[in-house]
């Protein structure tokens, strides 16, 4: 265990430990060796492991990911660091058509991690796309979205010891979030969600930074006597729908909280799965509390106006219980 580190430092820990353990692991991206990446995610690792293990690339996302895919097919375990997830657009073919397809077509494993900082923060529309549903929609990819330092490190370790191409979402606004981390062999399994706050009246499902909002909403609702089961998905795909169903069958009420645009979203997928598999247990329609369908603007007031806030979640839960009351509830 390591005390009180940031998410960025947790990623560094994971990289350092795994690179020390497995010499086929290297990281490639821009401004990594000296700067340590734009989020200090690999700070200090360059001088420690050398320029063959921390490779500075020209600004070509296609070349970075292609380098990762080809190297993974030829015996390495690359980590491609795209800085911002939005830059994945420049490597969409390499991710979606190359990395994701080799196993299915040829039985050829592509053990590749593509890390990028993601989620909604400053710098407006072109740095704030939510691509998690795009990648969830792509057969062959694994998609992870940790919410804290321990999961960041533990999931990174699982990814680096697995056989799949993993798209690793790290929220920009979580970079400095602090917490404990596990030791060198503490792996957090990919595909397993976690209950971060137990409750019996309503299930809130979220991931990444939005887990914090769900927990805050649960604290407010506790004042009403409403006990909220808060689930942190941790992995977007494979989706741990079993844990979600276990909760929803107990609570009879489910809401998915995300900060992506609503249409064809991760929230939509989870809502559809819940109604398919737990319809008989539901007291109310499954709600999606997502961002609005708009690009992200620069002014913080405009940006926040598009995002689900704690009060939206609180109101949605209260509104659901008021309109579709259950004998279980207060």
């Amino acid at each position: 265990m390591s005390e009180n580190v940031t998410v960025g430092q947790a990623f560094q820990q994971g990289m350092r430990e795994e690179m020390g353990r497995d010499e086929t692991i290297f990281v490639i991206g821009t401004d990594l060796f000296i700067r340590g990446g734009h989020f200090a995610q690999v700070k200090g690792i360059g001088p420690e492991f050398g320029a063959d293990r921390v490779i500075d690339a020209p600004i070509s996302e296609a070349a970075m990911v292609a380098a990762g895919v080809g190297a993974a097919m030829n015996g390495m375990r690359p980590v491609v660091d795209l800085n911002f997830m939005d830059f994945a657009f420049g490597a969409m073919d390499e991710l979606v058509n190359q990395a994701a397809k080799a196993r299915y077509l040829w039985g050829k494993a592509v053990p590749l991690v593509v890390r990028a900082s993601s989620g909604i923060a400053l710098y407006a529309a072109q740095h704030n796309n939510s691509l998690e549903a795009w990648f969830m929609h792509t057969p062959g990819l694994v998609v992870v979205m940790p919410s804290n330092p321990a999961d960041t490190k533990g999931i990174l370790k699982s990814a680096l010891r697995g056989e799949d191409p993993v798209v690793f979402f790290m929220h920009k606004r979580l970079t400095g979030a602090r917490g404990e981390t596990g030791g060198p062999d503490d792996l957090v399994p990919i595909g397993k969600a976690a209950v971060v706050r137990p409750g019996r009246h309503v299930t809130l499902i979220s991931s990444g930074i939005v887990v914090q909002k769900a927990v805050k909403a649960a604290e407010v609702l506790a004042g009403d006597g409403i006990e909220v089961d808060v689930i942190d998905l941790r992995t977007i795909l494979p989706l741990d729908i079993d844990l979600v169903m276990e909760s929803v069958r107990r609570t009879g009420r489910a809401m998915v909280v995300t900060e992506e645009p609503p249409y064809a979203s991760v929230a939509s997928e989870i809502a559809a799965s819940i109604q398919e598999e737990a319809f008989d247990y539901l007291d109310a329609p499954v709600a999606r509390i997502t961002a609005a369908h708009a690009p992200i603007p620069h002014a913080p007031q405009l940006m926040e106006a598009l995002l689900p806030q704690v009060e939206h979640v609180v109101q949605a839960v209260r509104g659901s219980i008021s309109r579709w009351p259950s004998s279980e509830e207060v």
């Binding site: 070509s60 380098a67 058509n97 196993r103 057969p139 056989e163 595909g191 494979p238």
Partner: protein
């Protein structure tokens, strides 16, 4: 509208020189080129029947010298990745006509068990890192494999093929730049067959006469060779391989070639004159040129050539029979092996 893009010089077979090539291997080169030609020429009816090969395929008849000249210049551990017109590369790299043909047919005995088809051939045990349905992608795969070869010090040299059409994608040059900067053991070979589907190179680029000159700007050796001369291709790739193996980095080779058939089987060609195709055959056919050179040097006689031709025909007939008799994949397996981690595939059967 069509225009004639004639081969310069007299209208007769242009001789090639056997300098700098392993003379004892040339009969095998000829044999492989004949196999490729027979293989490719068999495909039109098989794709048009509606009951044999699903869909159309991209034939490389006329481009045999590029594949054989390049791949015979490599060592067995070296890797090759191809774009969408790949059969000649796969066969030259040692894949059998049977496994390639069965893959085109979508049969379990194909190299990808019927999951890949023409644009997703593979045999990693032979160092064949796949054909690719996306233009420009194969150089990226080869470039990444070359990065691994450098880091792991495997001694592999990696070859990525691209067409002159693919040379118009930005990614091709992003990959070449990365390889040059990292001094990777990569040989990027542009198979310039003049036509990207139906678009003549003169209608897609201002610099018509040389793609190799584009590559020079990235700081790596770049040459243009006669892609219809198997010995010229061999010499260029052999030199590039030596350079890569020494740790001196990648090379770019443009092989000027020509495809006799359409972009795809079943094509109705309104974009070039048949005279143009016939002139390329008369003056530059890569098999005829090698045959003539071997006969002149007394390395192969008429009877031997006919035997090789007959062997190639028999091998392709055998491959077709093999594919035809092979089982189709079990539909119940269609959702298997998507990821290593288990993902619920859902779908209509659920």
């Amino acid at each position: 509208m069509t225009e004639t893009r004639a081969v310069a010089g007299p209208d007769e077979l242009i001789e090639i020189q056997l300098d700098g090539v392993p003379l004892g291997d040339l009969e095998e080169w000829l044999e492989t080129m004949l196999l490729i030609r027979e293989f490719e020429e068999s495909l039109e009816p098989l794709t048009m029947s509606g009951t044999q090969i699903p869909g159309s395929v991209h034939q490389a008849s006329g481009q045999e010298a590029v594949a054989v000249g390049a791949i015979r210049a490599l060592e067995p551990q070296d890797l090759v990745a191809s774009p969408h017109r790949p059969h000649h590369h796969a066969l030259a790299k040692g894949m059998t006509a049977r496994v390639v043909m069965a893959e085109l047919w979508g049969r379990t005995t194909g190299c990808a068990g019927g999951r890949g088809g023409t644009m997703h051939l593979n045999d990693f045990s032979l160092g064949y890192f796949g054909s690719n349905g996306i233009v420009g992608a194969a150089i990226g795969i080869a470039m990444g494999a070359a990065l691994a070869a450098k880091l792991r010090k495997t001694g592999q040299v990696c070859v990525g093929f691209v067409g002159e059409g693919g040379a118009n994608t930005g990614r091709t040059w992003e990959f070449v730049n990365f390889a040059a900067m990292q001094k990777l053991p990569l040989i990027a070979i542009c198979e310039n067959n003049q036509y990207a589907v139906e678009t003549y190179i003169g209608r897609s680029a201002a610099l018509v006469d040389s793609i190799a000159r584009r590559a020079e700007g990235f700081g790596l050796p770049s040459v243009q060779v006669d892609g219809q001369d198997v010995c010229a291709v061999y010499r260029a790739v052999h030199a590039a391989r030596d350079r890569a193996a020494r740790g001196d980095g990648p090379s770019f080779i443009e092989a000027v070639t020509y495809r006799y058939r359409g972009h795809n089987t079943g094509e109705v060609a309104n974009y070039r004159e048949q005279d143009e195709v016939e002139q390329w055959r008369r003056t530059k056919d890569p098999i005829e040129r090698l045959r003539r050179a071997l006969e002149s040097a007394g390395l192969v006689d008429q009877g031997r050539f006919e035997t090789l031709e007959e062997n190639a025909r028999a091998a392709v007939e055998d491959a077709i029979r093999f594919a035809d008799e092979s089982p189709v994949p079990d539909p119940a397996t269609a959702t298997e092996r998507v990821t290593a981690l288990p993902v619920d595939a859902k779908g209509p059967a659920q």
